[in-house]
């Protein structure tokens, strides 16, 4: 299934068609960005159902506001801004990420899927699990700006320039957020050691 998005059509063309009332063109954009949108939401919520709802809500908002998109930035940075703002609102509502619960769920499913490696000892696995858990907790505890910058760079590969556009801030500020986030994550591991 190509999700209604022929690869030779650029985002700008699909947006222009949407602005002329072609809903199918927007479906093309959904097909193109749904996986990344879902993963970003999942990085913020750590809950599959919430991530699905939030990312779909972001698409609906983008669709309703498509006539306000002026093309000064790429479609995906404009869309990510809507999505990230929704995720941050979700955080404000929830006050705290249910990271540990979600992480535990994730680890459970990972354990079920993974074939045991005969070369790795039980101790090594336990340490790796503990490191992941610590990092997850530390990531969840980061201030929202640092977490946003880190997640968009580390998990989704956006450039500093793109993150600055999504977060509506300067590249210098994003660099500082990213550095502080990495420093905080390192610190969480130092406490583990």
């Amino acid at each position: 299934m190509d999700y209604g998005s022929p690869s030779n059509v650029r985002d700008e063309e699909l947006v222009a068609l949407c602005q002329r009332g072609e809903r199918r063109a927007f479906e093309g954009l959904v097909g193109r960005y749904m996986q990344r949108a879902y993963r970003i939401a999942l990085d913020f919520t750590h809950d599959g159902d919430e991530a699905k709802d939030l990312s779909q809500e972001a698409f609906l908002r983008a669709f309703s506001q498509i006539n306000h998109f002026d093309g000064r930035s790429a479609f995906y940075t404009w869309f990510y801004r809507i999505l990230v703002n929704l995720c941050l609102d979700y955080h404000r509502r929830k006050a705290r990420i249910p990271w540990e619960r979600a992480k535990a769920k994730e680890e459970e499913s990972a354990e079920a899927e993974e074939v045991p490696d005969p070369s790795s000892s039980a101790d090594q696995e336990a340490i790796a699990g503990e490191v992941k858990r610590k990092l997850g907790t530390a990531l969840g505890a980061l201030p929202k700006q640092q977490r946003t910058a880190f997640v968009l760079r580390n998990h989704h590969g956006l450039s500093i320039h793109e993150i600055a556009k999504v977060m509506e801030t300067t590249e210098g500020t994003v660099r500082v957020h990213l550095h502080r986030a990495v420093a905080a994550l390192r610190q969480s591991l130092a406490e583990l050691a």
Partner: protein, 177 residues
């Protein structure tokens, strides 16, 4: 090698942020050369970078979802978009018809229509006012007959002159007698 008491190694303070950005491939040109030059000389920073390479991938997000998940996600999204579009009021659905170029064109056309209608209504009003300001028929007739009255005046003047002339003649005859 600089190692902190808890096992993680520290980088040179002034290079720490640069190394994070170097890890993410954000540097190019002179900055990249500067960081790489420093890494060749500094074991602590090289090991700090190794730490980043070891632990940052562990923070990465969850695994791929199966294709069936995306199929159902996309189908749901299509349905939601359709419902959303049908719920929009009719005038909002017409909005896309008004393209950005059409707004100034329609605006200019509207201004021209207003200007023309103002011009025409003004001239019609003037016309109707001028027709309402015409003189009454009697006055108009009198005005047309002004020459007649002027000629009557002239006749009266001639009569007067003749009378005067007759009076002079009588006066002269009397004096001769």
């Amino acid at each position: 090698m600089t190692q902190n008491r808890k096992g993680l190694r520290s980088a040179c303070k002034e290079f720490e942020e640069d190394l994070v950005l170097y890890y993410y491939g954000e540097w190019g040109g002179a900055e990249l050369a500067r960081v790489e030059g420093h890494l060749k000389e500094c074991v602590a920073c090289e090991q700090f970078l190794e730490d980043l390479r070891a632990f940052l991938p562990l923070t990465a997000g969850p695994k791929e979802q199966p294709k069936t998940f995306w199929d159902s996600y996309f189908k749901e999204m299509q349905e939601k978009l359709e419902v959303f579009e049908n719920r929009r009021p009719w005038w909002k659905r017409l909005l896309p018809v008004f393209q950005p170029w059409a707004v100034p064109v329609l605006g200019a056309a509207l201004v021209v229509i207003i200007a023309l209608s103002l011009t025409f209504t003004k001239s019609m009003r003037l016309k109707s006012r001028s027709s309402s300001e015409t003189l009454p028929a009697e006055v108009q007739t009198v005005a047309n007959n002004m020459d007649f009255f002027q000629s009557l005046d002239l006749l009266e003047s001639i009569d007067l002159l003749e009378a005067l002339d007759g009076a002079h003649a009588t006066h002269d005859g009397a004096r001769k007698l």
